[in-house]
Every structure is written in C-alpha cells, then in structure tokens.
C-alpha cells in the first residue's frame, strides 16, 4: 500500500504541537505508513533584523517538530521530510503561500495539507481565512487541525514586555499632557502623572501593535524624525505639481487606479506608508489589504513617483534601518500595475 503523504506548514504558535499530533494521527488512520513533510515558509522580510531571528528559529522549530513526530508515531512507519520554503523568492500575501505549498505538494506527490488554525508565518497577524480561500483557489485540499486553544491573554504576571509597554505608554501620555499644560507647574505635574498612570494601566495592552524592542523602538522614533523633512519636501513638490494642473484652464488630469504591493509589514509601517501616500497630493490610498495598496493617482508624474517607491524606501528606513531601505522600486520588481475601475 502506498504511503500516505501529508504536508504540514509550521509556524511558531501555541497550537503547532497539537497540529503536528493531529497530522500524524489522522495520517496513520488511513494508511499504515506515513510520509510527513514538515515545511516552514519564510515570509519575504527575512532580510530584516527580525527576519534573521526567524530563519534561525525555523531550523530550531523543524528539529523540535521532528522529535514530536517521532514521539507521536510511536514506532509506526513514519518518514519525515523537512524543508524551508521561500528563501529564494519573496512571499507576500496568502496567495504566494498557497502557491508555494501547491508547488511543493506537486513536486513530492502530496495531496493533503494539515493546517494549523493559528498559522501565521512571520510576524503578520493570523492569515488562516485568506489562506484557506487561496488554497481553495489553487485546488489544494486541506484539513484544519482541531485544537484546543489556550487563552492567549491570560497572564496576570507583569512580564518583561508588559513592563516595557507600561513604561512607554506612561511617558508618552505624560509628555503629551505636559505639552498641553505647563511643565513647570506642580499641579499639572501631579495631575499629569495621575492621568498618565490611569491611561497606561488601562490602555497599555492595546497601544502597541508590535512588540517593543528596547533598542529598536527608540531608534525608530529617532529615524522617524529624520523622515519628516523628507516627507515635507515630497509634499511640497507634489503640491506644486498638482496646483499647476488644477489651475490650468484645460485641467490635464489623468486619473488612474494603480495597485502597488508594498514591502512593508502590516500594522504601523503599512499605516505610515498609506497615510504618507494619501498626504502627498496626487496619490490617494483607496484600499490597503495585506500589503496590497490600491492607489488612485491624479497626474502621471505623481504616478511615476509612486512607482519609483521613494516613500516606501523611506518607510523601510524608518522601521527597519538603513540596509533595508535599498530595495528595488515597485516598478523594477514588477509590483506596480495600472488597474481598471472594476478593481474597487
């Protein structure tokens, strides 16, 4: 009897252990020998500092998962294959993941995929639903592993990151209060401390969307200060160009809808990029999903600036540092296209 082959994409989640267990158990139910392919798909931003940690973590996770499979197999005939995917290509959204899984499955004659319900490659938010949709599209059959989810925010003990958040929120709100009030008046200092205390205790856990880093986070704030003059300069240039077009009696506008795949992470970096694009006259972000920006452009020169990706490079500089800023422009890497109105 042919061995059952199953593909298990892994990521570092609380449910990954149970997913592996389910894959092994369900595979052995239908056949007596199992070929278990454990794969880790690395997201596109492996060149970032966080990414390096991730690719090191990948090897470690694969080793751990191999041990789990052997443990669960309990002497049954199970062969294990491991692979790291996405090292030589850029993986973006769910579609890329679905396609790379499909390609791997075709290469190894696999017809079943076991999916971790919490599956989230890299640092982006959980992408289960879009991934399931894309897997359906490429015709890959999958199983969602039935797992018991642990409560995720159940920790009462103030952890290391918890303290950092509390600390940062307190000083940000205290600073804001003092800017509005008088920093040398004892009453304002006292009430400010009280208000900042209440704010940080009640809102610290929702204030930051990504984990704070004691070195990186202040560095980002400093780099953001350098970003502001650049943004202002871009805004002035774009303003003059758009004003010239609007004030011409013939008004030579050329509105187009474009799609740009931005190489910045969802969350704050994407927000900063989308807002910067909107703030520059001539380009307007209509939608932002999974790093895919739908941008309406008014004049050709604004569109060319957008496709040259100056703002994107600057945002990468702010959030990931100088080395990451030097990436090809969206135009060169084929991530920018003009789309019709029905894309809305």
């Amino acid at each position: 009897m042919a061995a059952e082959r199953v593909l298990v994409p892994l990521s570092d989640t609380v449910t990954v252990r149970q997913t592996v267990a389910y894959a092994v158990q369900s595979g052995l139910e239908t056949a007596d020998s199992l070929e278990c392919h454990l794969v880790i798909a690395l997201p596109y931003d492996v060149d970032l500092p966080e990414g390096k940690r991730m690719s090191d973590g990948a090897e470690e996770l694969l080793e751990r998962a191999e041990n789990w499979v052997e443990e669960d197999a309990d002497g049954a005939d199970v062969t294990i294959e491991t692979a790291v995917l996405g090292t030589d290509e850029y993986l973006f959204g769910p579609r890329d993941y679905a396609e790379i899984f499909r390609a791997y499955a075709d290469d190894h004659g696999i017809d079943r995929l076991v999916l971790d319900p919490e599956y989230s490659p890299g640092v982006t938010a959980s992408m289960l639903q879009p991934l399931e949709r894309e897997l359906d599209r490429v015709g890959m059959s999958y199983d969602e592993a039935p797992v018991e989810r642990a409560a995720r925010h159940g920790r009462l003990v103030l952890s290391h990151t918890g303290f950092d958040r509390l600390f940062a929120t307190f000083w940000i709100s205290f600073g804001f209060y003092l800017v509005l009030g008088d920093p040398f008046y004892w009453f304002d200092l006292l009430t400010g401390a009280a208000v900042a205390g209440i704010v940080s205790v009640s809102l610290a856990h929702v204030t930051f969307s990504m984990p704070l880093d004691r070195v990186q986070s202040p560095l980002r704030a400093v780099r953001f200060v350098f970003y502001i003059p650049y943004l202002l300069w871009e805004i002035v240039k774009a303003n003059i160009a758009v004003s010239a077009v609007i004030l011409r009696p013939s008004m030579p506008i050329e509105p187009t809808l474009t799609r740009v795949n931005a190489r910045v992470r969802s969350g704050l970096p994407l927000l900063a990029l989308a807002n910067s694009i909107t703030l520059t006259p001539g380009t307007l972000t209509v939608r932002a999903n999974d790093q895919q920006l739908l941008v309406h452009t008014l004049i050709p020169s604004a569109r060319e600036d957008l496709f040259d990706g100056g703002l994107e490079k600057a945002i990468r500089f702010v959030f990931y540092g100088r080395e990451s800023a030097a990436i090809p422009s969206p135009n060169e890497r084929d991530d920018a296209e003009i789309v019709g109105g029905d894309e809305l």
């Binding site: 303003n239 004003s243 008004m251 050329e254 809808l257 703030l279 809305l344």
Partner: protein, 129 residues
C-alpha cells in the same frame, strides 16, 4: 545706543514679511484646493486636492501663527495642532475614499494610452455648472 534698536526693528520687519509670506502661501494653497474640490470630476480626484488644504494650506497658515507667537507655549501648541492635522486627515480621507469605493461610486478614469484631456475637462464643466 541706536544700533540695537535698529537691529530689532529690522528683525521685526523680517518677521512681519515672513508671516505675510506664510499666510499668503497658506491662502494660495487653500484657494487651489477649493478650486480643485469644485472643478474635479469625481470624489477620488477631489480627495487629492483636499489633502492640499490639510498639508500646505494649513501648514503655512499655522507656521505664520507660530511665528507670530514666537518662543511661547502657544507656538508649541501650533506645531502640535499641525502634527495632529497631518496624522488624522489622511486617515479621514482614506476612510471617505474607501466608503465611496464600498458604496460602488465609479471613478472617472483616463483611458490608458490616449489621455483625452479635452473630454475630461468637458465632463467637469458639465458637472460643476
């Protein structure tokens, strides 16, 4: 004795004209943006020029105000106000554009390759008049 007063008076004059320049530019860009909001053909195009008011229109006008207050607490306030406008307004513009997209407002798009300026302009004339 006369020197410091002369210097101060020159400084005052420079400051005065700097403020006038800032306010003039602010009014100019807001004017352009108002013209744009009235002339442009559809909601998406209008949202572009709305961001002109938010950026340079408000930016220059508030810079003039900050110059007038000088090294006072109120000047910090003005910068804060500008920062706040810069953060919130693109978000609002994005929300408006997205709500237009969700309620199926069709954008007016130029045909690829042959941008028919006259036609676009003619449409605008028809709509705003």
């Amino acid at each position: 004795m006369i020197e410091p007063i002369a210097l101060q008076s020159t400084l005052e004059t420079v400051r005065f004209w700097a403020i006038v320049l800032c306010l003039g530019l602010g009014v100019f860009f807001t004017l352009v943006s108002t013209v744009g909001v009235l002339r442009l053909p559809d909601i998406y195009a209008r949202a572009h020029t709305a961001s002109q008011t938010d950026t340079l229109g408000a930016g220059f006008a508030l810079a003039g105000v900050a110059l007038a207050f000088g090294w006072q607490h109120a000047a910090v306030y003005t910068v804060l106000l500008l920062f706040f406008v810069f953060i919130t307004n693109p978000t609002a513009a994005h929300a408006i554009a997205r709500s237009a997209a969700e309620s199926d407002v069709e954008p007016v798009l130029a045909e690829e390759g042959e941008a028919d300026d006259a036609e676009v302009a003619a449409e605008t004339e028809g709509e705003t008049r």
